[in-house]
């Protein structure tokens, strides 16, 4: 092949204690779609952010069309023809879709930009309401806006980080055909996607990243799924655990069938749960994003809630865990509910607090940890030590600040802390997002163990496989409403149809 349009060589980047990239290479050729695979946390996003000018590498070289360049900002990247569609939305909520589309684009008139947007929309099937404020859009519309924004700038290289997570299958297919068209037009496309089969279907070439390093690059036609998965996981879980719980594979790899979770949903059959105590119930509950939700959670069961992101699950999690009151309806929940929030950084932990203080955040509510006035730091410190040891949190000491830990270790702290509450119910919201294989199977194991001890568990997840594998009963959330899945529908296809049947969230 000729010279690549973009070449990344030996890229290294460290964040605090975490070596996110430790020598990653990536070549992107014009005219091809390049799939980048790797466990979550392997470094794919960081690598893409380096390409997009969002993150500067500590060392390593970037070449565009054969000449060495520095990408100090997204502006630099755009100037080189490199466009990044982010995993996390980077739209301005207070502005309209149209304003967001033309933001940062100089030299186009407003009408020209709108006309171009409409033409693109027509061609790609990515339709968005141009005059709506982004804050009013659902996640699907936001994602479509992000993609359009990148397409409008006519990049030579388009990089997409998880673009399909919130799209329906039809929309994802539409996007993939756009990407293939782009490649046919002589552009380079690079893609990270949630689902392995999607990447395999659309890519011409593949690169596997593991633990911050590129371990394999090959044309799609020359590798098997089994080989790819083996490369993604490496010699085994031990490696990754050894490097300090450094982020790793998500449940995607569970989908591929590489990880065996002890136990399994089949352990608790539906018949045995009848007659168990109802621990929590919601009747006719309304909130910002919830409509007439009815739910009953029994002791010892794992109640799975599936759904595409942004359909009201977060409101549901906050109400079930007693962090929020419904605007209407009846919520009968235990006085104390353990809660694993989706957003570890913002809601689960205080980044500036050390481990002891983060443990105290929840445990100080318990009567056995002191009076109403004083903080029994000695006891709490001991408890933090116990959690650090028992849950194998990799941290120099309990005086380490939470922000210095890797995602998996942060999650261990949260789980250890919440379990110590000994609450009759646990609400877990996407508890394995961004965790490596080891950490994921660890979390799953803890959930199953807890259920067997009689704790009522609500598992809210956008990962359908996770829900199907662990949950005794499954419901689906679409547009703020909840639909219970009958036993016969409890298959990937059945639940998937329900998830998409209501379409994705639009409010």
């Amino acid at each position: 092949m000729s010279q690549p349009f973009v070449r990344l060589q030996g890229i290294k980047r460290r964040f605090g204690l975490i070596q996110a990239l430790s020598g990653a290479d990536l070549d992107l050729y014009s005219g091809e779609v390049h799939g980048v695979l790797g466990a979550n946390g392997a470094g794919k996003s960081t690598l893409f952010n380096v390409l997009g000018g969002l993150v500067s590498p500590d060392s390593g070289g970037i070449e565009v069309e054969g000449s060495s360049v520095k990408l100090r900002s997204p502006r630099d990247a755009w100037a080189r023809g490199i466009g990044l569609v982010h995993q996390h939305f980077t739209l301005v909520p207070a502005l309209t879709v149209r304003d967001n589309l033309r933001l940062g684009v100089r030299g186009h008139s407003l009408t020209a930009a709108v006309a171009a947007a409409e033409a693109k929309m027509e061609r790609t099937g990515l339709r968005v309401p141009l005059e709506a404020n982004v804050s009013e859009l659902g996640v699907g519309d936001r994602q479509r806006t992000e993609i359009l924004k990148a397409l409008l700038r006519d990049p030579q290289v388009l990089i997409l980080d998880e673009p399909t997570a919130v799209l329906t299958p039809e929309e994802a297919d539409g996007l993939f055909s756009v990407l293939k068209d782009l490649a046919r037009d002589g552009r380079a496309v690079a893609l990270v996607a949630h689902k392995l089969d999607e990447v395999l279907a659309v890519s011409d070439r593949l690169t596997v990243i593991r633990a911050g390093r590129s371990v394999m690059t090959a044309p799609r036609s020359q590798v098997s799924v089994r080989e790819l998965v083996a490369e993604m996981i490496g010699d085994g879980i031990a490696d990754e655990v050894a490097m300090g719980g450094q982020a790793g594979s998500s449940s995607d790899s569970v989908a591929v069938g590489t990880v065996q979770v002890p136990g399994g949903a089949s352990a608790a059959s539906p018949s045995t749960e009848r007659g168990r105590m109802v621990v929590a119930s919601l009747v006719g509950v309304y909130a910002d994003r919830l409509k007439d939700v009815k739910l009953e959670v029994r002791a010892g069961e794992i109640r799975g809630i599936a759904g595409v992101e942004g359909n009201g699950q977060h409101d549901l999690a906050l109400i079930l865990s007693g962090r929020k009151s419904p605007s209407l309806g009846l919520a009968n929940i235990p006085k104390e509910v353990a809660f694993i929030p989706q957003d570890r950084h913002a809601e689960g932990l205080v980044a500036d607090f050390d481990l002891t203080e983060n443990v105290a955040l929840a445990l100080s509510r318990m009567a056995e940890f002191g009076s109403r006035v004083m903080m029994p730091w000695g006891v709490l410190r001991g408890e933090a030590e116990r959690i650090r040891a028992q849950f194998e949190v990799v941290a120099p000491s309990v005086e380490t600040r939470a922000q210095l830990l890797s995602g998996g270790n942060q999650q261990r702290v949260i789980i250890g802390r919440e379990l110590a509450l000994k609450a009759p119910m646990l609400v877990a919201e996407n508890p394995t997002r961004g965790l490596d294989v080891a950490a994921t199977s660890y979390v799953h194991g803890e959930l199953l163990k807890l259920a067997s001890e009689g704790v009522a568990i609500v598992l809210i997840s956008t990962d359908l496989n996770e829900v199907l594998r662990l949950a005794d009963r499954v419901s689906v959330m679409t547009k703020g409403r909840m639909v219970e899945v009958s036993e016969s529908q409890k298959t990937r296809e059945g639940v998937g149809a329900l998830m998409l049947g209501g379409g994705e969230a639009s409010n």
């Binding site: 997009g52 500067s56 900002s73 997204p74 982010h86 739209l91 301005v92 909520p93």
Partner: protein, 308 residues
């Protein structure tokens, strides 16, 4: 109340409101970029001294105003280096710049004019009545027989509004203040935008200060800004971060300040200090009445660091 009294009231309302309007309009642009600069008090006092010195040195009030704008901008530059360049806390930096601006002008004034502050004789910025318009009964003389800086404020309000809401630069500015990460990702130079918006705010505050010295007092006096920078920040909120509403909010505050003359003329016997406090109380009440949290730029006062 006679028409004469009303006209006098309106005239003083506009006169007291104009420096606030100038400073608040600049601060509106600054805050729209996500920067709250409480150091504009320092820019105002610097503009007052710079305006006076400039007017003396160049022998003309017009050049004095320009020099005042430049000194105000310089003070804002110091703020910007720390708050934007280094990402230091905006409130603290603003406090330091205000303290330093007040001290520096006081000290320089005494250096130049002696410890007792020999009375300065400064070329005044004379009111310039606009033909026809100033003849409109009651409001004519109030609005159109003011110093030229007042007309500058009238022109700046729609101009700033247009730039803010109708141009690509205004879009980038608003995006920067709402979501700097998103703006950067779209290719906007967040720091450059914030820097220039802050310098513009400083220059406007400098003009406000020059107006105080050249159009109101005809002299520089230590601490003559008297907290106008702080009030301007309240006026920005009252004006919902919209330059045109900000102009009216400043005139509203000016009117509240001018009430003392009107009420005294009408025979109300209230203590002078209560009249002085009145505009602040009224502003608090007005804020409580119609400004919501959602109006402020979402990233206001949050430091931002590029390229982690």
């Amino acid at each position: 109340m006679s028409q004469v009294e009303l006209a006098l009231f309106l005239e003083s309302a506009v006169r007291l409101g104009i420096p606030l309007a100038l400073a608040a309009m600049g601060e509106t642009i600054t805050e729209r970029s996500g920067v709250i600069n409480i150091g504009i008090e320092g820019s105002i006092i610097a503009g007052a001294l710079g305006g006076s010195l400039g007017a003396i040195a160049f022998g003309g009030a017009g050049l004095g105003v320009a020099f005042g704008a430049l000194t105000g901008l310089l003070v804002a530059f110091v703020f910007a280096v720390f708050a934007i360049g280094l990402g230091a806390d905006q409130i603290i930096t603003g406090t330091a710049v205000t303290i330093g601006g007040l001290g520096m002008t006081g000290a320089l004034y005494q250096v130049v004019f002696g410890v007792n502050g020999m009375e300065l004789s400064v070329p005044m910025l004379a009111p310039a009545a606009i033909p026809w318009l100033s003849d409109i009964p009651v409001i004519g003389s109030a609005l159109f027989a003011q110093a030229p800086t007042a007309y500058f404020a009238y022109v700046m309000a729609p101009l700033a509004w247009y730039v803010l809401f109708k141009t690509a630069w205004g879009l980038e500015l608003r995006a920067t203040g709402e979501a700097p990460v998103a703006a950067e990702a779209a290719g906007v130079r967040v720091r450059a935008v914030r820097f220039s918006a802050t310098l513009f705010g400083g220059a406007m505050a400098g003009i406000a200060g020059a107006h105080l010295a050249l159009a109101h007092a005809g002299a520089f006096a230590e601490n003559m800004s008297a907290g106008k920078g702080f009030i301007a920040i309240a006026v920005v909120a009252l004006g919902r971060w919209n330059p045109i509403i900000v102009l009216f909010a400043a005139l509203f505050f000016g009117g509240a300040s001018a009430l003392q003359f009107l009420l005294q003329a009408l025979g109300f016997d209230l203590a002078y200090q209560i009249f002085l406090a009145f505009p602040y109380i009224l502003t608090l009440a007005a804020l409580a009445g119609w400004v919501g949290k959602s109006q402020a730029p979402a990233a206001l006062a949050l430091p931002w660091e590029p390229n982690r």
